[in-house]
Amino acid sequence: MSSNDASAAPVQRAKTTGLHKGDIVPGVAKVDPIIIADGIRRTFGGLTAVNVDHVEIPRNAITALIGPNGAGKTTLFNLLTGFDKPDEGKWTFDGHSLAGMGAHKVAGLGQVRTFQLTKALGLLTVLENMKLGAKDQIGENIFRAVIPSLWRKQEAEIEERAIVLLKKFKLDAKSSDFAASLSGGQRKLLEMARALMSQPTLVMLDEPMAGVNPALTQSLLDHILDLKEEGMTVLFVEHDMHMVRHIADWVIVMAEGQVVAEGPPDEVMKNQAVIDAYLGSHQDVDLGIVTGRIEGELNTEAIKLAAEVKHLDENIANRKETGK
């Protein structure tokens, strides 16, 4: 059951379980994987941004990709979606090998993504943004474009679909405004709604909650849960552990380019490797200061880290009470 009222208490929906085969270790095989990636490495000069031996994303489930800043989550997204090319490695989506395939072809197969830095097309209206998302448009061919009678009917259908989605995302009142006039959170919503216009099978969301005000967060979570109910697979990057616990069926933890842990959210939160992942990559920051044992000056990164640690601590301490 979904709640559209942003102020209502989060409604816990049933988690999908039994996604993996055998013991839970990093890179564990899934019962029904939609993405299978092997030996993916991407270096920038001397820095190895991604180095994933094996990872599988379960179909028709919500998988969260977590890890500290710079862990390589966005780079992995870019690689999987064809926006970047790995030094080596191969991966399949829905049985199609994607290595070397261009981004637009990957999207054409039904694997769409959003960006960490929102890409609303500012000088297109909200409705135009939405319509752009639809696939296989007759009028997108330059020769057929000059004969409106060829594409009018399809255009009307696309518009109808766009309006339904805009209503659902509470953007319908803005449909004729330029997307540039939307707030940061509304742009995140628009980007997600636009991605859904292409009727994807896998939706990859890079930090969908970042910058979204708390009133919108709950409805965004509900939208993500709805995607699963509609048969889609979701892979999302998120820093807020509450959100991850609330909606993810499976969590994959990255640190320094590698998958260091994975499993159902509750199990993963207990994992020492996860805590290390969050702390280990910040060796330049005195952990005593971060955790509040010692007085000292914190730079902005350390302040963020301290907040993350606090979240993790709370999660671990309260894991019996929350989520019930």
């Binding site: 500012g122 009028g139 216009m197």
Partner: protein, 326 residues
Amino acid sequence: MDILQILSNTGSSLIAPATIGYALAALGLAMHFGFTGLLNMGMAAFMAIGAYGYAISILTFGFPWWGGMLVGVGGSLVFALILGIPTLRLRGDYLAIVTIAAAEVVRLLFLTTTFDKYTGSADGLSGYHESFRAFNPIPDGTYGFGPWEYNANGWWVRIFGIAILALAAFILWAVMRSPWGRVIKGIREDEDAVRALGKNVFSYKLQSLMLGGVFGAMGGIIYALPASVNPGVYVTSLTFFVYTALLLGGAATIFGPIIGSVIFWGVQTLLSNLLPAMVNVGLLPFMTTTQSQTVRFILVGVALMLLVIYRPQGILGNKKELTFVK
């Protein structure tokens, strides 16, 4: 000072073939820059290829006028492919550098004495009018009134040019209101977002370069149609002048480029007549008539700067739909 003559020359420039040629090239840049966001700084080369393609195929190969035009347009399509395939993967500012260089290469190829037999090198080409004039349906004589009095050939060139301009404006309007145009505008805003939605961005950019290039080639042909092909015309400053006309009218509009070209040529003609006349009657004691012609181009530069700073959307553009913000 003959005020009447100055006004008459200015009035006449409003529908001159050069004005129509600029308007066509500016429509091409509206496609490239205004709608797709491609900073093509090589429009002069598309115009040169149109003009030389037209003149050479008539003079050297004996083509009829329409065959010459097809060659000019075909040449611009080939040039768009050669230019676009390696460069359209580059980001905006790199594209500007590469297109400026490519346009210089094209200009120097037409200018070099190596191909003098075909291109006339520094002398350019002329005397290719017979075939086009033979098709003139207007009976001999002089028509019109006031500043707009031309003979049959003068009207034939202008009517033909305006018809081509109207056709180009219609095509641009038709494609830009379609889903194709939506993808194009999306690419201007953020090509990665469009790619993420499954559109082949490279192919769309190439199509835009080709369509705008054809407009530019037709502009070059109309510009050269009444007189001659002169290699001194197709220099980089021609591209800047066409950009001035485009930005004056509004980069992301259909009628802006046309109105911008008309105003650009109107003001240019007015100044080129008015300034020397003012010098001669002693109103501008600090300069000579020759200097006053240079001042004209300085004023164009200043106008372009003021325009970009204070009215980037142009005369017809939507204030919200700026192309320089970001």
